[in-house]
Symmetry: D3
Amino acid sequence: MSQIITFGEVLMRLSPFGNKKFIQANTLEFYFGGTELNVGLSIANFGGNVKHITCISDDFIGDTAISYLNKFDLDTTAIVRSGRPLGVYFLEVGAVMRPSSISYNRSHSAFSSIQPEMVDWESALADGSWFHWTGITPGLTQGSFDTLKEGLKLAKKKGMQVSADPTYRSGLWKYGVNAKDALVELLHCSTIFIGGINEMNEVLGTEYGYTNEEFIEASKLLMETFPSIEKVFDKIRTSINASWHKIRARMWNGEEFRETQDFDITHIVDRIGTGDAFAAGLIYGLQHFDDYKSMDYASAACALKHTYEGDVNYATIDEVTRILDGNVSGRFNR
Amino acid sequence: MSQIITFGEVLMRLSPFGNKKFIQANTLEFYFGGTELNVGLSIANFGGNVKHITCISDDFIGDTAISYLNKFDLDTTAIVRSGRPLGVYFLEVGAVMRPSSISYNRSHSAFSSIQPEMVDWESALADGSWFHWTGITPGLTQGSFDTLKEGLKLAKKKGMQVSADPTYRSGLWKYGVNAKDALVELLHCSTIFIGGINEMNEVLGTEYGYTNEEFIEASKLLMETFPSIEKVFDKIRTSINASWHKIRARMWNGEEFRETQDFDITHIVDRIGTGDAFAAGLIYGLQHFDDYKSMDYASAACALKHTYEGDVNYATIDEVTRILDGNVSGRFNR
Amino acid sequence: MSQIITFGEVLMRLSPFGNKKFIQANTLEFYFGGTELNVGLSIANFGGNVKHITCISDDFIGDTAISYLNKFDLDTTAIVRSGRPLGVYFLEVGAVMRPSSISYNRSHSAFSSIQPEMVDWESALADGSWFHWTGITPGLTQGSFDTLKEGLKLAKKKGMQVSADPTYRSGLWKYGVNAKDALVELLHCSTIFIGGINEMNEVLGTEYGYTNEEFIEASKLLMETFPSIEKVFDKIRTSINASWHKIRARMWNGEEFRETQDFDITHIVDRIGTGDAFAAGLIYGLQHFDDYKSMDYASAACALKHTYEGDVNYATIDEVTRILDGNVSGRFNR
Amino acid sequence: MSQIITFGEVLMRLSPFGNKKFIQANTLEFYFGGTELNVGLSIANFGGNVKHITCISDDFIGDTAISYLNKFDLDTTAIVRSGRPLGVYFLEVGAVMRPSSISYNRSHSAFSSIQPEMVDWESALADGSWFHWTGITPGLTQGSFDTLKEGLKLAKKKGMQVSADPTYRSGLWKYGVNAKDALVELLHCSTIFIGGINEMNEVLGTEYGYTNEEFIEASKLLMETFPSIEKVFDKIRTSINASWHKIRARMWNGEEFRETQDFDITHIVDRIGTGDAFAAGLIYGLQHFDDYKSMDYASAACALKHTYEGDVNYATIDEVTRILDGNVSGRFNR
Amino acid sequence: MSQIITFGEVLMRLSPFGNKKFIQANTLEFYFGGTELNVGLSIANFGGNVKHITCISDDFIGDTAISYLNKFDLDTTAIVRSGRPLGVYFLEVGAVMRPSSISYNRSHSAFSSIQPEMVDWESALADGSWFHWTGITPGLTQGSFDTLKEGLKLAKKKGMQVSADPTYRSGLWKYGVNAKDALVELLHCSTIFIGGINEMNEVLGTEYGYTNEEFIEASKLLMETFPSIEKVFDKIRTSINASWHKIRARMWNGEEFRETQDFDITHIVDRIGTGDAFAAGLIYGLQHFDDYKSMDYASAACALKHTYEGDVNYATIDEVTRILDGNVSGRFNR
Amino acid sequence: MSQIITFGEVLMRLSPFGNKKFIQANTLEFYFGGTELNVGLSIANFGGNVKHITCISDDFIGDTAISYLNKFDLDTTAIVRSGRPLGVYFLEVGAVMRPSSISYNRSHSAFSSIQPEMVDWESALADGSWFHWTGITPGLTQGSFDTLKEGLKLAKKKGMQVSADPTYRSGLWKYGVNAKDALVELLHCSTIFIGGINEMNEVLGTEYGYTNEEFIEASKLLMETFPSIEKVFDKIRTSINASWHKIRARMWNGEEFRETQDFDITHIVDRIGTGDAFAAGLIYGLQHFDDYKSMDYASAACALKHTYEGDVNYATIDEVTRILDGNVSGRFNR
């Protein structure tokens, strides 16, 4: 009854050590990630009951991915397998003014072959109370869009909470569907909007600026346009450079505007998946706390994620809570 | 005037260290390989002038591949780039009775998008005297088959030597062309056959056994069927287990049968690319030695390759010659 | 109804890379193992439904151990936690005539604090059909002996199969109980004896030699002395040196004597847990095959384990079967 | 006549690379450390003559520890061995707002078995002029407390300088002795107090605040209460977060109060052992410089330690002096 | 016609990982570098056509160096070989207030044996339009000074641009020639001066200070003294500590003075070769841009180099341009 | 009174991991070695009291070497330092028929600068009872030859035992002295000859063959020619290939001929220093056992060394003795 559902591609991440480029390396580290998976694993680490639905390859790489997910005690029973290979992304980690670079090998991956009939949504959502989706999945293929749509419709019918992170990524949406149209359709099934001015302008066709006032205006218009949406949460990242960011968040829940303190991340360990950690913190928070504390929890979770290697936030509820209680000096736990 | 041409896919090889499985690992080694490339690089290490023709990805992984080939002083000027990702293969290295396992991610790779019009064969073969091909390339896609065919026809027209390693791999040939028909067509452009009973039976539709007598019979029939073929070289591998092999070779050059001694490879370091090292030794040998010494050179090169990590044979002409001179005790070079 | 139960300590294994000694190293590899756990994980890899019962530390090392077990899809629901640290063993891997060396840090470990009241055996064995124990557990502490005894009594009462690997290790049994007395008591709850002449002489107080004839005699006496025991399986290891072993097995099932072929393991990758792989193969086999095929399966599983790094046998049922079908040459799986 | 004596447990430190958690790792780095040992090794690196007294395991891990200490040219002749294992601690290194975490496996270690009769203090202190102790040792077991007490009494009788770092750690003191009573008894044998307001409040039963004025008041009361104590040195750490600290120090030597500049450690490499480096700098300093320069030297040594991996300060006297001379820009030494 | 020529020693750099000292390590990373080579490789990465001239060892280390240079598609055809070993330098990387330390093993290296007759300058400079030299080469041996001088004379005669980085390093100049005299002689062949107040004072025998006004004065005097010099470029480094630098540049081109913004390098990855990256950026820039944009390009290139491991700047022209366009926040490239 | 003296160069060994070539690598392992040092360290590991005399560099590499020797509790008090760099050798490890390759960088090393006046032989040999030398040292430079000669003369005068391993290496002896003349002069100070037919033929100018009979003849002639020599020990290595050797030994002690069994080293881990381990075993043995047991001990020590990584034999007296007692099956030490 209280299972959180995430749906999306599992990718293998391949990266040289430290700040090396591939051209300098002959060894790599690998992780498994994917924006929706990262959200699911992060919630599982908070102690939530999470099921991830995806399609992975039917080879020893797929077996390795399953084994990796099992480490986190995630429900993997609804995962389907395909003869196609697992998607891969290659990462070169930048520093200071050098940006990180990513190259994808996912366009004919196992997940890209997914079709609605491959997922038994009735059974998959049987215990579901929350469904989280992002703008990556509908941008991949017609099949992944259709499959997501079917899941969201059922989620809506069952009265589940549906959180949307409608990130628009320009490298996707190559298969013929218009991004805005697709996102609009999916947002009508959603109840929580996780996104900022850019995402709202994208789906509203507006040109709001970044002030708090305009954020409130945009949120109001969004909630008028998409009546199912009850709350808007926006994570704001200030990049001093690739190694040093600041994070804060703001929200409009239909009644009040609030924003959090700044979290100053002076020495970033791994930036991948930090937005997903925010979403995870929010989803976990909204099930246990009020809106404002949820946003605070999400921001602290996001900040903490910058200190873990890999795509996943390993922070537990206690560790996030300690940050919220003001223990940010990083003294030893013995 | 004396350039050796190799044509085929460049793959990134990803493998855990030692005998680990992916499920046990979080770090990998990577190399670049591919059967025809391995032949080319091995010949370059012998001191030959080699041009490799291929299509690789237009990202930092493709840049890394080019840089890797440049290390060997290979002519990379005819390489074309594609927006598709580089092909990848995953390798788990076995031992004793445990076989190594491979999983491919190549079916929509940069090379799989190659089409005849992407290669300027006239220019590419301008200085070519030898063209080497294998049964992998025509088995990938219609485009790779057609592109190879066009190259081979020009090579034949120019009177180049053409060596064929018509390995049949059952995991390929998914795109609609019959393997035997394709290989037969390509063999008619070829002058040197590198293969054994299985390969001859495959293209002849026969069922010869493995004795020397039947090898000679099969070779004679092959040379009747394919009049362009002048010589047949067969490498025979005896596998005690995955860690211990013996290698020998035999040949029929239209006039005489010869076979080599056994090379006893008691502690295999890396088995990948050992057949390619045989082909490379043969191609290099036939340009410098008589048939028998070429076969001997090829066998010694093949044996030596088992002692190098990665897909490429690093042996120089001096090192192979030292083996042929009987120095197999592995004493120090100071 | 068909769950296999294993009960015993989980140890962290710490070892330098390759054949290095600690005195030469500053980095280590770690694994989790333990003789009964190894049996359980190996059966899980064959596809069996396994529950492992143990007591581990309540810190991030214990969390890591749980996560490690989850990778294998083992039932970890009956595991209890303790404020004491997880047991550790340090391993230096030998080669040729140099033996491997082990040093233990386990005498005040989490598991050593186990007491019968900490395990709810009724619930733990609810779905159990098979219980496997070894001579290590009763040799640790009074509490571990008592806890095991209670579990075995319930298993006997429920009519479960009980396999015993009554290895006697002289470094244990420091807490005041006589090894022979304890093992005798536990064997009276057991149905399958996995052990050889040394183990039978130990519990019978006899001095049989190693011939097949004496093995049969000893087995008969054992089965008279312990009427619950139905079958005896003996794995015979011939050590040429630390890097090269041969394995075969023999059995007496009350009616017939059989022995297997020799498996020649010319290049050992990791010897730890190979006996456990034999036991696992046997337990899995006896649930699916006849006695002789089970012994053959167990021997092949044991041989294969020598090719995996770490304590666990990763071989699947298909991989073991391939060995039994005679495919021991280690050719590629593509 | 001029040997510095340190007495305390030697622990093996096990830690994943970089900022990884154990749950993400399969390889570890190891070091040997322990608060009193760190002080001793750091003084040895300054060029001091140091003897470390401890009890370590009688296995290859203990041999490795001895070999490690020998690297630093420490006097290890008074070390005794035990059949119990060496103590271990596991470390996960945090960053920014994530604290580092430590889990200990030391409660039944070789050192925890130490008893007064195992150390021949007369012989061990024969050439001793200085004895350094910390609040860790008396907090471990009755035996370690008693052994330390015996050593300190002899040191006092011989008129040696005795420096005390009476850190109170709440995870210790489980064996039945009251921490305050024990520390008070030991402080009566001590001449130099290395600690701040918290430590003074602990042993005085007071509640002084952190201002310089209160520090002076507390120091005066301390020196009244413990007439053997001549000087108080306090290291003040300001933690911006786990990756960025500032260090300064202050002192009261019975006559004057002084404090040092701030050392700004913007990119911490390894925080472990930095307090020990301060103590080592002070002990070395007080043997060669006046009080104020000693405190300055200690602060610079402490700051430098943050830049070395592992528990030990590798800084030489020249390197510390260079910092004191104002060369903190980190230009190359060629 | 447009080849850039660099001439100087190739050194193997050997360094422990991270901030480890050799005394803590048993593994090393290696790179190849050398100040003039770094300039050449950096220009090659910008897309320039570069030939590096040097003398390297005639062993497998020399082969490895050649292979390393080939990765960058550098023209290595003018490299000569020697029976002497390749020069080596050992590096310990500092942090915060700990400086990095370097120890050289180069005084009898392959390059130190170079003599004018070993380089065929006519042929080597056949396509050359630019020659870059530094103060390291003439400081090594009489032979290296003479060989450089001969090259520069020919470059001057051919009307090539000649850039000089007359760094004076006190550890060199042991062979009997006066540094100032040598540098003066070489500067009379040069057209671009890359250096600051220290370098100008060194060759002018003056004592100018560091203000912009004095920089202009010094530059004017320099250009009077060395009429061939047309422009002076000065890179100014502000070291907060070993981990945090700021970079800016200034110039006097005979007509106007300009200076760049500060680049704030808050988290240095590798400081080696950053000055060389400045020179490379300048040389590349002056061939494509005006003076001011060239200086800006050089500064951005220098700043970016601090983010790459090893001696070489991997930045492409696009990446440097992006920095100049103000994209310094390090957002992802996907 | 009973100190064993070794004298010779300490070299840093640099080698890629496993069987990689430098051209494939970017990381290395390093060790310190040198034939006489290896002998000394091996004897120290047996428990002997050893002093090594050498000259090393006065930089952090030299400090690291000293720290390395200290690990073994070797007497390093007679080591002198030089401004020249430490000698280095680069190693590529072969396998099967591929030989290992070595390249030296030692001709202007710290040790090559040694001169008789740099060593205070009277003091250095004060407690010496045995002096070991090899043919490497006199082959390096006039200074190293002269220094050794002076030491040996004093050793002879003091009546010390002197063991000679007069290996002739053709890459040395470049400085003007005739190898045979030098070795003859040094042998006249020696009492134990460790060498075979080749070494005897070299110094006798004879052409004996390899049979036992000729070995005895040669030994007799050697002992006539060099009356100080009392015994001849010859280690015979049979190389199946670079990965698989057999070792046995024979001796003539003036009265009887004996030879040992074959030790079959089926999986060589590291071949470097195995001859030194033989010498060490012999020296240690002759101080504790009779001639035949000493030779047996030396052979077992030599065989064991093949199983340790690096140049040093880590075997203890117990471990060698266990081999001699027939325990060569490599079973666990727990």
